[in-house]
């Protein structure tokens, strides 16, 4: 009976999630590398330049073309992902709650090189926090990007960041956060290839009742 349930149950990563994940991965790489091409004309950190090898576009005009093409894929796909995560309850199920005690425990285990990854259907507290941070960073990139693109039409947005240069600065640091996340994310996916495979094939099927049971357990834990 349980096996029959499991066969009918949803995959760890349903098809829409996988599609949006890989579209986002591509869009992010386009936005980051073309952004490095645009950055170089007026650097934010003096002395910091991005090698031409890693830039998308041979000069600023071409990098800008890539950036303003990639933005549509990033923003539309990102919006779809946010709506999906909110309305299917995936965010609540997978990313909440983040308990400080668990966070400390996971960090301690990681420092002792004991990363628990037997069950890839459950995120530990550090993973949850990192995913939440990178989602917020992604939203921030779109908002600051809009502010930099249209500082007159959206002058109210620019004033939120303390002016045009402020918005540019936040846009730059958002990139740093995302690149930092990407380094950890890709390294871990390569260390535990099952997770990479799961993002391609969908991963293990979840028992139908499992999410509800987990939610109930979470509520009991909070009570």
């Amino acid at each position: 009976m349980a096996r029959a349930d499991a066969r009918r149950g949803p995959r760890l990563h349903p098809l829409p999630i996988r599609l949006m994940h890989w579209i986002n991965a591509l869009a992010m790489i386009v936005m980051i590398t073309s952004g490095w091409g645009i950055y170089d004309d007026y650097v934010i950190i003096s002395g910091l330049h991005f090698s031409q090898t890693f830039r998308l576009g041979s000069w600023a005009a071409e990098s800008l073309l890539w950036h303003f093409a990639g933005m549509w894929f990033l923003a539309i796909n990102g919006l779809a992902y946010l709506l999906y995560g909110l309305f299917t309850g995936r965010f609540r199920r997978k990313l909440l709650p983040v308990r400080p005690a668990e966070l400390v425990e996971t960090v301690r285990e990681t420092l002792h090189l004991r990363i628990g990854h037997e069950d890839i259907t459950q995120y530990n507290a550090v993973q949850k926090l990192l995913y939440i941070i990178v989602i917020i960073a992604g939203i921030s990139q779109v908002v600051t990007g809009l502010a930099i693109w249209k500082p007159v039409q959206f002058s109210w947005l620019v004033s939120l960041f303390g002016g045009f240069q402020g918005a540019r600065l936040v846009h730059f640091w958002g990139m740093v956060v995302i690149v930092g996340f990407l380094a950890v994310h890709v390294a871990l996916a390569l260390l535990v290839p099952r997770t990479l495979w799961a993002m391609l094939s969908g991963g293990p099927r979840l028992a139908r009742a499992a999410p509800a049971a987990r939610a109930a357990a979470n509520e009991a834990g909070e009570a």
Binding site: S58, A60, A61, L64, L65, F68, V152, S155
Partner: protein, 263 residues
């Protein structure tokens, strides 16, 4: 990793655009007889330039990117609110002198003689009589302390005064329902803007900076200063204004930058 639209390569499409641009200026340039000459000369030029192309960026990718940029131009026109004013600043925040920027070095600026300078008018304008700088001073003057934002990412606050482009266009009987206003300059920095942005109240034909006559490097005797577009849409040393329905890409647009470039 040079691209087709890098400094060296000029794709055929661009050459065609340039040809169309030239044709658009024909009322200013001269007779129909010269049209054929120009066409032949340009086609030959385009052919020789094509051989210098480097195909590291596939043409299909480049075409797609350019098409998205053209779509973005339309989106930008939709986002543009003709009544929205850019923030203005107190005179104490003005940078003096303004920041120099052109496709050449400040040492290579060729000063314009204000006494012989004439502003020529072309296209859909009722009264095409050329203007002297003295005549300009008789029109109502307007001052704007606005931010100049460069596509590279830097910005500064400048204090510009002159005649509103809108005031001038209405004064000479321009067809303000036409699509574009095209500017020609002594440094061959062709530029064109959409009519809605041209009519924006903060779009000036500037003749002064910080209350004083424009210095040579910044566009004496006349330049465009608009608050609603990036810096490269502000041609200096203007010699001709044309109102037209023919799309005419400017100096940087031909090299791949956005045409609308609204901010």
């Amino acid at each position: 990793m040079r691209s087709l639209f890098g400094a060296r390569g000029v794709p055929e499409r661009e050459a065609r655009a340039a040809l169309e641009a030239l044709e658009a200026q024909l009322p200013l340039i001269g007779s129909l007889g010269r049209r054929g000459l120009i066409r032949k000369g340009l086609s030959l030029g385009a052919l020789t330039m094509l051989t210098g192309c480097d195909f590291s960026t596939p043409r299909s990718v480049e075409t797609a990117l350019r098409q998205i940029s053209a779509l973005n131009d339309r989106v930008q026109a939709l986002i543009f609110d003709p009544d929205k004013l850019a923030p203005t600043y107190p005179a104490s925040m003005v940078q003096k002198p303004p920041r120099f920027n052109a496709y050449f070095d400040i040492m290579d600026v060729k000063p314009v003689d204000g006494r012989t300078w004439r502003l020529e008018l072309g296209g859909r304008i009722a009264n095409k009589t050329p203007w002297t700088i003295g005549q300009f001073a008789t029109l109502p003057q307007q001052e704007e302390i606005i931010k100049h934002i460069c596509v590279e990412g830097w910005d500064y606050i400048g204090q510009w005064s002159g005649v509103r482009l809108r005031t001038f266009l209405e004064h000479v009987g321009a067809d303000t329902r036409a699509k574009y206003v095209v500017f020609r300059t002594t440094d061959d920095y062709l530029s064109s803007i959409d009519m809605a942005s041209a009519l924006h109240p903060q779009t000036l034909l500037a003749t002064k900076y910080a209350g004083e006559t424009l210095a040579d490097p910044f566009g004496y005797p006349m330049r465009l200063r608009m608050s609603v577009k990036l810096g490269y849409k502000n041609p200096k040393w203007i010699t001709a204004i044309e109102v037209t329905n023919v799309f005419t890409p400017g100096y940087w647009e031909k090299r791949g930058f956005s045409w609308f470039a609204g901010i």
